[in-house]
Symmetry: C2
Subunit: 363 residues, 2 copies
């Protein structure tokens, strides 16, 4: 039997029971609400975890990149939504090949993105599903006016090989809302999506049924809104210091980074052997780069590449040099992408080592 | 012939001529100043580039991790300084094995770190070189008092298998100084190092000759200070938006991330297919996550995982959807670690693809 204490640091630990509970809770929520469920696997990039999500009832998976889709399609996943804009010949070639092996869906937010995809699908003789992306307040990609949505729908009417399904958004601005603000934020998001969907449907001339949303903090509220047909949270499988700041219980954090105290420069400081190359550079003034499991007041307040500076804060906890401690990182999705393996644990025991199979899939 | 325009995005480009010029300039500076030169290869993690540094006159290399050292030792590098604190049995086992294949140097900043290394070296019958790390103002690791340096030197007097060489620091606070402040900052750093070196030498009872410093922005000033014996810059091979902010010419930036415009949500915004998983999460309010090569006023002001939000700022430049543009990232060292390959270019041509051989070496 291998124990956590035997592992060299830094490395990623995933508590299997917490992972399972997180996966089952969200699948059950979606099922009971009657929503389609296509979780975003960019969080874990791990075939074993996507399989757990499938076995719990997921209807498919969402990915961020064509090269991520490739990994999961090769592993047998048959319904994959690339929730991103496919631009450029290499990626067009890639997705039409993928569409021969699985039911592939892509995002569109302009005619300039939509038309080359429609042509490539026609040339290859494959059908690609599409959803119009709507910017519902996050300020990134997505149509911002009804006119843009109508232009895309009108274009696609004339192309047989792209099957328009409806609309989607990533309501990332839910991360900037309080728990109290979430219900109204979600209603506004869905009102916006519904207006786009209806206008696009009129232009398309066929029913566009899908209204797809995705972000972990908004999932509960979104599941109660009738117009929503699909939920696509990603981070919920692991959660992290950001989710805890937003109200998620610490006990639901499945992922920690195991690290060793390599210096104790003063009574309130510990330096860890995990920096931005192990925790990721993500973090903010509210949760730093993460906190110590069991000692949430002890925070990684700054990182260099290979060192994390843990400020012990108001706690009386005084970890010794050489002691191994577990950090709940600020952002689990970017943290996983720094590692090749996930160590699957229960209590003090290490049960397995799973590869981060789609790590670094950027194309 | 392969051209940059043929590459799928995002990917890392390295301009070979700029890389060579950067490598030669720093090697020449060190040689003319009569300093030992052991550049930090964590910046590129690439055997081909370390070989160029060696061929230009480097006396050895510096790494951050034992597992990085392993990659370069296996490639034939014979003088390797792990500028970090080795803590825990797996890493002790690792470094005594490495010390059988190369001249290995490690850092020490406490008796608690030094003693297990001395015992492990003795048990294995190998000699490991060591430098006492001094915190000269960066506030991370390193002894903060003369007494701590003396305790380490006194301990090592009784151990034959650790050969104390002197002192070192990473003067990372040079990044927070203006060009005008650098000479005085460097003099203060070296004054501090010299006091530590002298006290340690008296306690050790043998000459401790090494006074080793390392950070790209301070290298020029440090090369003029007589007491300094060794320079260990890392970032200088590539440079980045942070170095440009500190006064480095844009023309010296060897590394860019090739990316495609996937959306133009407004006249002043472009969304790129490179986010924090391609550029790295590093960045700050002064240089964002990087700027567009040729259009320094256009900055990536925020990133999500797979999207970079380019604000075109005051420029009249209006990149089209589908256009490929090159981003000088905020931090080249963390950017490279996100990628498996470096595309080596000259003008519009792609000359080679070099592996980031020590990518993700965290242990």
């Amino acid at each position: 039997m291998l124990y956590i204490a035997d592992l060299d640091t830094p490395c990623v630990l995933v508590d299997l029971d917490v992972l399972k509970a997180n996966i089952e809770e969200m699948a059950t929520l979606s099922m009971q609400a009657g929503k389609r469920f296509r979780p975003h696997v960019k969080t874990h990039k791990c075939i074993e975890i996507a399989t757990m999500q499938h076995d719990a009832g997921a209807d498919g998976i969402t990915v961020a990149k064509a090269s991520e889709a490739e990994v999961f399609a090769a592993a047998g996943f048959s319904d994959i939504f690339i929730a991103n804009l496919i631009v450029g010949q290499p990626k067009l070639d890639h997705i039409v090949r993928l569409a021969e092996t699985c039911r592939l869906t892509v995002g569109l937010d302009s005619v300039a993105v939509a038309e080359p995809i429609a042509r490539a699908a026609e040339a290859r003789g494959v059908v690609i599903q599409a959803l119009i992306e709507v910017d519902t307040g996050h300020g990134r990609t997505g149509v911002r006016t009804v006119e843009e949505a109508v232009r895309i729908a009108t274009l696609l009417r004339t192309y047989g090989h792209v099957s328009l399904q409806g609309v989607y958004t990533h309501e990332g601005h839910a991360y900037r809302a309080s728990r109290e603000q979430l219900p109204e934020l979600c209603r506004n998001v869905v009102r916006n999506l519904s207006a786009m969907r209806e206008a696009a449907e009129r232009a398309y001339g066929e029913p566009l049924l899908a209204v797809s949303v995705g972000s972990t903090p908004s999932t509960q509220a979104m599941s109660t809104i009738a117009e929503v047909t699909e939920l696509r949270p990603g981070n919920y499988v692991f959660r992290d210091a950001t989710q805890v700041r937003l109200g998620s219980p610490v006990e639901r954090c499945a992922l920690t980074v195991l690290t060793t105290v390599i210096a104790r420069p003063s009574s309130t400081e510990a330096v860890l052997d995990a920096g931005s190359k192990a925790l990721s550079g993500d973090g903010d003034c509210l949760c730093g780069h993460g906190f110590a499991l069991g000692h949430p007041e002890a925070r990684v307040d700054w990182c260099s590449e290979e060192h994390g500076h843990l400020h012990l804060g108001t706690s009386n906890w005084r970890p010794a040099l050489g002691q191994k401690i577990r950090i709940v990182p600020a952002h689990a999705c970017t943290c996983v992408n720094m590692h090749s393996w996930l160590w699957i644990v229960r209590g003090d025991e290490v049960l397995a080592r799973w590869p981060v199979s789609a790590r670094g899939r950027l194309l």
